[in-house]
Structures are given as C-alpha cells and as structure tokens.
Amino acid sequence: MDTNQHDCVTGKIIGKVAALEKCPTTIDNFCFWTNKGTLLNPFDVVVVEHVNGSKTYGVVEEISHITDSESFLAEFFSHDFGSLDAESNTDRIGMNYVAARVVGNTQNIYIPVHNGAKVALGSKEDIQTALGLNEIKNPVVCGYLEMYSGVEDAKIDLPVYVNSDFLVGPEGAHLNISGISGLATKTSYAMFLLNALQQKTLAAGDAKRKSVAYIFMNVKGRDLLSIDEPSDQLNNADHAMYASMGLEEVPFRNVKYFYPYGERGTTKSYVRLEALDRQLKSKQAKKFKFTFNEDNESLDLLFSNIEDPNQTIESIINYIISKQPPFNNVDSWEGMLREVQSMGEKGGGSNKEISVMSWRKFKRIVRKSIETEKMFNDTVDAVKGEVRLESEIKNLKANDVFVVDIAKQDENMQAFVFGSVMQAVTKLKLGEFDEDLAPEQREQIPDRIVIFVDELNKYASSEAPKSSPILRLLLDIAERGRSLGIVLFSAEQFKSAIHKRVTGNCSTHAYGRTNSIEVADKTYSFVPSTYKNMMTRLKQGHYIIQNPIFNSLLKIRFPMPLYKQDKGDN
C-alpha cells in the first residue's frame, strides 16, 4: 500500500482489493474479496481508497464464491466418500470475490487500484458521483434506484434523473425500450417517462425551455385510450415513490384521441363506448380520414412491406401523384380506383413505360385497402368530429398529447397511418406547412415532437425491404430527428430484430425482461454476462437503462403509471 494513501473511505468497509498475478487490477476492472455473508448485488456501487487520498468508484458486475476445494472429487471425499448424512465440525474456508468495473475517480486518477486497498459501501453522494447522477442539468426523473438492498442498515434509495437534453435533444435523442410482452411493461415505462417529461415542461413555464408535444400510436387494445384519466391502481409504495421523485400524481394533460373513421360515422377502434362518449363530449376525440386530393402522396405507405425490386409500384405511384393522364381529372379514391382499373385493361390507355401487369398488381393491392377501409373517404365533416390527421398535426402545440388509435387496423393500415403521422411531423418540422400557417401558428410549433410507437419491429425490422417507405422515414427520423426536433420513443420485444441504424441512433436504451435467446445476440455483446442473465430475471417494473450521461448501466424501477390502464378484453 502506498504511503500517500489516506483513509478517505468513510463508508462501511466490506472487503479489500486483491490484485493477483493471474487476475491483476486494471484501469477498467478490479476484484475484491468480501465475506461470504455480505449480500451485495450486481449494479451496487463500491468505493475504493486510492492514491493521493482519492476515491475510485466501481460497479459490481460479478460475484463468485470459492472455497479451497481443489475438485468436485474433494467435495465427494469430504462427505465420507459420498455419504449424504456426513457432517463436519468445520466449514470449508470460503469467501466471495467480487469483480467490479471502474466508473470513475474523484481526482481522475486511473492507474489501477492497489492490492489490499479498502473497499467500502458508498454514501448517497458517492453513488450519485459514481454513476454520473450528480449535477444533472434539466433533470427529468427516469426511475428509482435501490442500492445495497441486501446489506443490513445500508439500503439507499434515490430517484434517478436524466438530462432532458440527452433524452429529447438537442444533445441526444430517441429512446428504445425492449422486453418481452407483459412482463417488461414497456408501454408503462414509456408513459411514466413521458408523463414526467410533460409535468416537467408544464411546470417550467420558462420561455427559454424547449417546448415539447407528444404523439402516441395506440397499437394494442385500449392501452392508451384513457391516458387522461387518473389511475385507481396505485399502492402505498407507488405513492411513496412518486413523492420521493417529486412527481404529481396526475395523468396526462391536453390529450386528444384520434380514431380511424369506421362504417357509417362510427370508429374502427376497441375504445369503450362510455370512454368514447366522454371524449366526444369534451371534444377530445376525433375521427380521422384520408382524402385523395390531400393524402395521395402517402399512397406509397400502403406498399411498405411489398418487395418492389423493379420499382414498378413506385413508378405507378409517381404516375398518379404527378397527375399524369388520366389521373389529372381524378379527385377521389373511387375515381382513382376506376382509372387504375382502366389502365390495367388490355390496351386501356396504358403507356409504354408501365406494363398492364404492373397496373393490375397495383390495383389488387390498393383496391383491398381503399375499398375496405372507410377512413379513405373524400368528405371530411368537421361538425361531426371528422378530421385529417395532417391538418391536426399542423396545429400541434406545446404539451399537446395526440393519441392515434390504430389497434384495430390490419398491419398494412397501421403502417400507413403511422407513416402518415411521421410524414406530417417531418413536413411540419421542415417548414413545408409554413405557407399554410398563420405567423402565430408558426410560432406555436413545438420545438420537440415526441412520437411513441410500440411494436417497432413491424416498421423497422432488420429484415424490412430496403425500399420500404416506412423504414426510410424511420431512418430519417433516427438520424436527422435530433436536429429537426423529432424524437422517437419506440418499443419492441426483441431489439436484435430492429434495424441497426435505428437503435444505433438512440441515446437512451431501456432493457426490460427478455429471454436468453435474445441476450445471446451480438446486440448485447457489450453487456457483462451477469447483467445479461439478470435481464432474463428482471421483475415487472424493473429496467436496466443506458444513457450517455450515466457512467454505467443502471438498474432502476418505476411505479405504476398515473393513468387508467384499461387491460380488459377487447
């Protein structure tokens, strides 16, 4: 031990560093021995005394128990050659050794910690410094951390804050949540985080602060169709957690629901009638439609999952959008279908560039969607609560929450609506609507628009066709969104199945419970094996999160969401 080492460690001493010939301490890692009864957990922070009176912080990664037993045979022999009743007066000498990863030093000294250095539990301040949780600017709570839960009288709870500049830009943007259905509670975590963000921006009242608006895609059942109603499922622990995190127990505010227009003025949705009535009365609910004249540019989104190697479909769409004859006189979906039909007929006005067969294929695909889906309608009656999504998105204001329900639609239609939303948001942020907007409306465009979508694998699968317009839009948002002010909060079961350029551009990652096949994928190669195994055992409401400002992966938990969760049968 160095003579210039001081007793700088003040917490409970739990062990000492062991630097061995075969397992030396390094700049990044060290091991220490500890009593086998010390109940440490992965992710616990430890403090090590180091040179010049500095402290090195480490995060527990692996805990092993060893005895002096040379082999399994020695153990067999130690039980009277395999007698199950054999007892002994002495326990084998044994201890735990803990592998920890260095996350920082109070004086930025990164030479390896020395053999025999004392290892202690940290104080609240130590933990915050070690994990990069101290002095966080623009803090938004993202969970609750429990440290030393196994050590008697040493448990430390603290809320974890993330710098919103690293969550919704401009420093970093996009959040990806992964985990298996049901147990991972991905939607709940996203909603918890977004609620905290909305509370934060609503409370700030600061002109300098970036304004944020939200668009949620409801892809399953009635998950997000009552997010403005308070929850009645919070227990005492939840109340305590919200109190310690400084969050009000209020659901989302400024919420509007958009349902696809259904047959004869109804909605194509799983929403409960009483909820819909309430929302309609309070003018929160709208039925959205797509008109040919204004939405024909989104036609390509109907072909997201269809391979188009010769780009014939793309040519047809361009043909229609550019209003080439006979489409120059078309002003309705019905008219378009009629002209497509005629183009597909033998010699029927077809040009030489696009074959009749291609027009027929186009017709087959487009007819099914447009004829069966009532939202393709050319009349929008505002009095009846009918709207075009693009028009509504044009008027999106700070702190608005739009919920677009696509749960009851088929996969193609879901992609179409989601793609349309992304297109509209991109146009809004690129200023393409500026001519349509009054100066005061332009002023109101939020600095940041957060889009939340579950089941990302449907739109940004690593196996999606390269020509997929949805994938193109998502890649554009993932790569340019941070600077444009478009932020993608996405969730999926298996992160490994998502396009690498989408996940790679996310600044924040949340890992919920997953399975062992998933963690074996190279996507998780940076995660230590103990943490991987923990991912397969995470409880509901527990997440491992990664953000550039944190010095390490953090295991956090979060309370039940503040809105009414309607999980009933559809």
Binding site: D68, S71, H79, I93
Partner: protein, 378 residues
Amino acid sequence: MGNVILALEKETGRECFDTFRRCLDRERASLVEYDDLERAFMSEQGETVRYGGPRDVSAIATIWQKREPAFRLFLDGSRRTYKIADIPIGSQVFPIIAGQVGVGVCKRENRRLSACDLILHSVLAFPEKLDTEGKNEKQHRAFLADLATKLNSAQSRVHLDALLLYPTQAKENFEDKGIARVQEYMIEQEKAMVQSLVQKSLINDRSWLIKDGSLEYNRLSDKDDRFAFSRIRSNYKRVVGVSKSFNPELAKLNSNRTAAGMIAKLKTFERTPVAKYKTDRVEGKFAVWYVRLRDPRKHRGPFDGIVKVEKILVTDHEAEYGLDSSEVDNISAWLVNERNPVCYGKDDRWANHLYPVFLTETFIKSKYRGTAHFINLF
C-alpha cells in the same frame, strides 16, 4: 545503510564468502515422513481399562456430533531455511543459515476457522565457533544478544528476531545442523505459544488444542530453561498431538512385539489401546494410540487414514495409571468427527490430515515472504 552480511563482517572481522543463496527445504515434502525415535515402552497399558484389541468409537463420535466440538484451537509450526553465505573460521568454512519461523494458531467458532495468533520470526543460525569467547550457554546467549543488536542497528532491511548457534563438533553436515537449530527454535516458539494460550485462558476444559505433529520435545540440557518440561507440563492438560505420519515398526506393544499389524488392521473409527512410554531423548511420559479416520480400502497404503495421537501424562496419577479410558475414547471420537472436509488435491497426505490443521498450516505459509525476496534481504 549496509546489509546483514556486511555488518557481520565488520563485527566479526571475518570476510564471508559469497555463496549461491537458496532455499534448503526440499521443494516437495517427502511422501512418507516417519518419526525415528527409539522408545522404551514402560507398559503396554497406557489407560485405565485394559483392552485386548481395537475399540470402535463410532457410537461415541455420533453422540459428540450433535454437540459443540471440544477442539477449538489448532496449532502448527513451520520453518523455512535458506543458505545465505559461508563464513571462514580457522581452517573451516561454515554455512550461515537464515530461517523464517512461523507458529500459528487458528480458532474455530460456529464452524468457521479464523486466525487466533501468529509468531513469525526471522532468524540466523551461525556456527558455534563464531563465539570464540563463550564457554557456556549463558555466555553464548549474551554474545548473540549483543550481535543481534548490532546487526539490527546496522541495517533496516530485515529485523532479526533471534540469532542461533549450531554445534560444530560433530562430523555431520553443517547445513543440517543449522536447519536442526532453526527447527529447535521453532519448537521453542510452539511451547511459548501454548504457554501464552494457557495464560490467556484460551485453552480450557471446553476448548482443547490440537498440535500438528508430535509432542515429544527433546530434553533440554539447561534445566533452568523456561521451557523445561517440569515447568510447562501442566500447560498440556488439554493439548493433543496428532501426527500424520509415523513409523509403525517403532510402535511396540508387548514384549517388543511390533504393533504395525494391529494398526494396519484397524477398521474405520477404531482406535488401538493406549501405550505408555518414555524415551531418553524426550522428557516426560506419554500416552500414545492410533485412530483410523477413513476407510482403508480407499487409500494408497494400509496406514493411510490413520493418525497417531499423543498426550502428555500431566498428573502423577496419569503417569502411574495411564489416561482415563473414557477420555481416550472421547478424544478419539472428537478426532473421528474432524475427518471432514478433506484437503484432497491440495496435499498428498490428505487422508491423514485434519482440515483445520491444514488451514492453520496454509495460514502460516501465506505469511512467509517469498524466497527470492527473503534471501536478498541479507
């Protein structure tokens, strides 16, 4: 600041020869280590009851298994010796032997073993002729104390806890003589440790001590020595010596008949009757018997799994009539209960080793300085 050899040369006026410094202990302990004392058996009966043959203590062991074990302290001594220089005296050249001597005690509480006490000394053994003036033990001691003070003050690399003199008159190998002297020093430290444990009341009726190896301490020439047998005998009331290796041929029972056959035929958890003996070289009277800890079929030889147990006959009554047979049964049963776990794979003598003793040995060895480091301190 110089080193020990330079200081020695200055003090004695003799120029030492540079020599290849090395550890003298064999790198691997002999697989079989036998004691070689010729014993005069006073009686075939060393216990109060006369048993004609082996006695099974498994039932007693089972009873004791439910209780707190009586053996709570485990003592072991060890030493490492090194040749560090040669010194000319007259026409002869003698080796200077350095040694690390360790005596450690571990205690067991709630089935867990922890360090209790440790003596770790660095010593140097010189030829007796180095003290040209000294005529008796007392004068030798004064000479060594003076030399030690000078050698320690002349350098700060190593603190010498004791200087020793080895006899030079015999024609034996001087290195062996030096090693033997370091060994004697170790035994003295073992006795000192036992005395200290007794004084601290750590050894008592509920806390017995197992000493690794024999209790047959060589007779001391100086009767005033603080470790004279008559002085320390009472310390050994609750101390049992357990030897892993022994020469079965030297174990004789009756009419000079060897007991090797009976020992080899011991069944698991059986003990031999106790013999009482004394030897010329060793002070006091002893009770000795053998206990089989493990099934004979699962070892290399017939004596694997058998330990030799010694106990000093402390009281006059014991010296006259032997140990109480129930006490012998209990001690044997306690030892049987110490059979697990084993240090198989760590030590070739695992079948005869007691795990707490093995740990104590490991503890002492872990405290030694490495050979390359130690031999270069001089």
